[in-house]
Amino acid sequence: MYTFNRERRNINPREFLTYSVCILLFITGVLFYIWPYINILNINYDFEKLLKERAKLIQSNKLLKIEMASLKSLDRVENIASTQLGLSFPHEGQIVIIKE
């Protein structure tokens, strides 16, 4: 049977402070090192979300453009002009095209 002689060690407060500061500095350094990467990761997540949103907006923009092009179809415009607005084509002589 054997016993260990445990010796109580008195820690110098100054020494403790030094160690604490070192550890703190180390942790801060690690955090500073990691922080931009975490930030980049979060930005990438946001970027991807925005890309998806942008793709949706582009899609709806395209659909609106198609609708606009469809609404501007000349047969539709002519039909509205003649039936709803009471417009008619000018007769011969009502338009004089000037030579440029």
Binding site: Y2, I40, L41, N44, Y45, F47, E48, L51, Q59, K62, L63, K65, I66, E67, A69, S70, K72, S73, L74, D75, E92, I95, V96, I97, I98, K99
Partner: protein, 568 residues
């Protein structure tokens, strides 16, 4: 290890622990060796599959514009609904719900769900509303894939010329087919990193570049002129209860097609509802016997070869002329005696042109027919072009010269005819017709098509003299219904009997009525051809087709801001 002061029993225990540690580490090292060295490739792949995702961006088909940049064909992404039957909790219930939401046959779905397949399409390219409705059902085993969907916002406008795409987004007809490779470019695959939850991170910087957008096409057609042409053609086809019709408007100096219309119309948004024959762009693909409009070619050749001028007179045999055992009559049984060349064309005398042709000679006439591009493809950038048919001179019979002089025994495409007449209009130069103005990428021109001269066919002097004859034809001859207030019109009527169904001779009651001309006759801005197929009642080109020509010309000149030239 020094363990001199420790008891033997304790020593054994320590050694045991040590051995256990060694064995443990040995196992770990063996595993590491196995993973890192022996099976390195396999685990690297597994790791990559976990952290990287390969995307195949959907190819986006380019847009088709008219010459002014107005959209004629546009692509958008659309959701296609699929099912993984193995993941469905209740296939019967799902089939019923989905069939109601997407309006598809539920029995088909049940049949498909019962097959041992992990993937089946339920409905492709659904509308945004349908996609939203299916998404809101939140059914396990039902998913979406993005696909390109083609829209033609102007519906029937230039439908046959533009063509359409199939379910796989590849062009099946029209410019959609002939320019499929440019419009549709398959993008490269891209690899993106993902996290443990499968979310994408470090999205590729060149994401924009990776989207496979095809080239855009700018056509030579003008939406407004196309609309005018289609409207007037439709009106005339309907008025005469005709089988169909074709009209082409061309810039005679450049060969640009400004409009190419067909009746009946074709809406590429719902191509499946049409018969295959209605997909054809008949102005390019179909040929017909031109009838009297072909007299222009003969007259041009005769003047160019100095065989005759517009005031030379020919005896027209009192309306009956036997040649090679066949008796030729005039239209409407007219009985002409002496007519000048101008009058022959103006009154469209068959016997008169035979006399001119005989003086010109078969060889000369044949050469000019070929010079005007009849019998060979124009090589326009549209699919399915026909070359028409001109028989080799060696195969001509005793009546061939006579028949061909008034447009029988020869077949031309509408495009060939308008190109030939444009050569008369522009001073004698045959231009190569074209329908695509430019291929563009992101608004920048990648490939521009410019006017291309094929050859000079007749001199400017001949062109001027022929224009005078054609003006006379409209003012005093058969083409009076093409008279346009304020402008001098040069043109020629045509009424051709169609071949009889038994291929023996010609039909007595089926005609092709046509009118071709250009306006203003001096320095013309547009050449127009109108063809009406099998009109009922009246068949004469001057009655049936000329009014459509006049209306297309009147509205197009107003749109193009061409000032009136004759002040009337």
């Amino acid at each position: 290890m020094y363990l001199g002061n420790i008891e033997k029993k304790t020593k054994i225990k320590i050694y045991l622990v040590l051995i256990l540690f060694i064995i443990g580490f040995g196992i770990v090292w063996e595993k590491i060796y196995n993973i890192q060295i022996l099976q390195h490739g396999k685990f690297l792949n597994l790791s990559n599959r976990q952290y990287y995702r390969t995307l195949s961006p959907m190819p986006v088909r380019g847009t088709i514009y008219d010459r002014a940049g107005r959209e004629l064909a546009v692509s958008v992404e659309a959701d296609s609904v699929y099912a993984n039957p193995f993941e469905l909790d209740d296939p019967y219930k799902t089939a019923n719900i989905i069939s109601q939401t997407l309006k598809v046959d539920s029995s088909r779905l049940i049949r498909e769900f019962n097959k041992e397949k992990g993937f089946i399409w339920i409905k492709r390219k659904v509308t945004p509303d349908e996609a939203e409705a299916v998404e809101s059902l939140n059914i396990k085993g039902i998913g979406f894939l993005k696909e390109g969907k083609r829209f033609y916002p102007k519906k029937e406008l230039a439908g046959r010329m533009i063509g359409f795409v199939g379910v796989d987004n590849h062009g099946l007809s029209g410019v959609e087919h002939s320019y499929d490779e440019q419009l549709m470019i398959n993008p490269d695959r891209m690899v993106i990193e993902k996290d443990a939850f499968g979310r994408s991170i470090n999205f590729a910087d060149d994401y924009e570049k990776s989207i496979g957008k095809g080239y855009d096409l700018k056509l030579t057609i003008d939406e407004v002129i196309q609309y005018i042409t289609e409207k007037e053609l439709a009106g005339q086809v309907s008025k005469y209860k005709a089988r169909g019709g074709t009209a082409i408007v061309m810039d005679p100096y450049t060969g640009e097609i400004l409009a190419m219309a067909d009746q009946p119309q074709f809406n590429p948004n719902s191509f499946g509802q049409y018969k295959e024959r209605d997909w054809r762009n008949r102005g390019v693909t179909d040929s017909f016997e031109p009838g009297s409009t072909f007299k222009m070619i003969l007259t041009a050749a005769a003047i160019e070869e100095k065989i005759a001028n517009q005031n030379d007179i020919f005896f027209c045999e009192n309306g009956e002329y036997e040649i090679g055992g066949r008796v030729i009559h005039e239209a409407k049984d007219h009985k002409y005696k002496w007519l000048t060349l101008k009058e022959i064309v103006g009154k469209s005398s068959n016997i008169g042109v035979i006399k001119v042709a005989q003086r010109l000679g078969a060889k000369n006439f044949y050469d000019y027919i070929l010079k005007f591009g009849i019998g060979s493809k124009t090589n326009i950038n549209l699919p399915g072009e026909s070359a028409g048919k001109v028989r080799d001179i060696k195969e001509w019979s005793g009546v061939s010269l006579a028949s061909i002089s008034f447009g029988q025994e020869v077949s031309v495409t509408p495009l060939q005819l308008i190109t030939a007449v444009s050569a008369i209009a522009n001073g004698g130069i045959l231009m190569k017709p074209y329908a695509i103005k430019a291929v563009e990428k992101d608004g920048m021109v990648a490939n521009e098509f410019k006017p291309e001269v094929v050859r000079r066919v007749i001199s400017e002097k001949t062109s001027r003299e022929l224009s005078e004859i054609l003006e006379y034809t409209v003012r005093y001859g058969t083409g009076q219904k093409a008279i346009l207030e304020g402008y001098d019109v040069a043109g020629k009527t045509g009424t051709a009997q169609k071949a009889s169904p038994d291929k023996k001779g010609y039909s007595e009651d089926k005609f092709i009525s046509s009118f071709i001309g250009y306006v203003p006759s001096r320095n013309p801005r547009i050449a127009i051809l109108v063809i009406i197929d099998e009109p009922e009642g009246v068949a004469w080109g001057g009655e049936v087709a000329a009014p459509a020509f006049r209306e297309i010309a009147r509205q197009s000149l107003r749109y193009l801001k061409v000032p009136a030239v004759n002040g009337s």
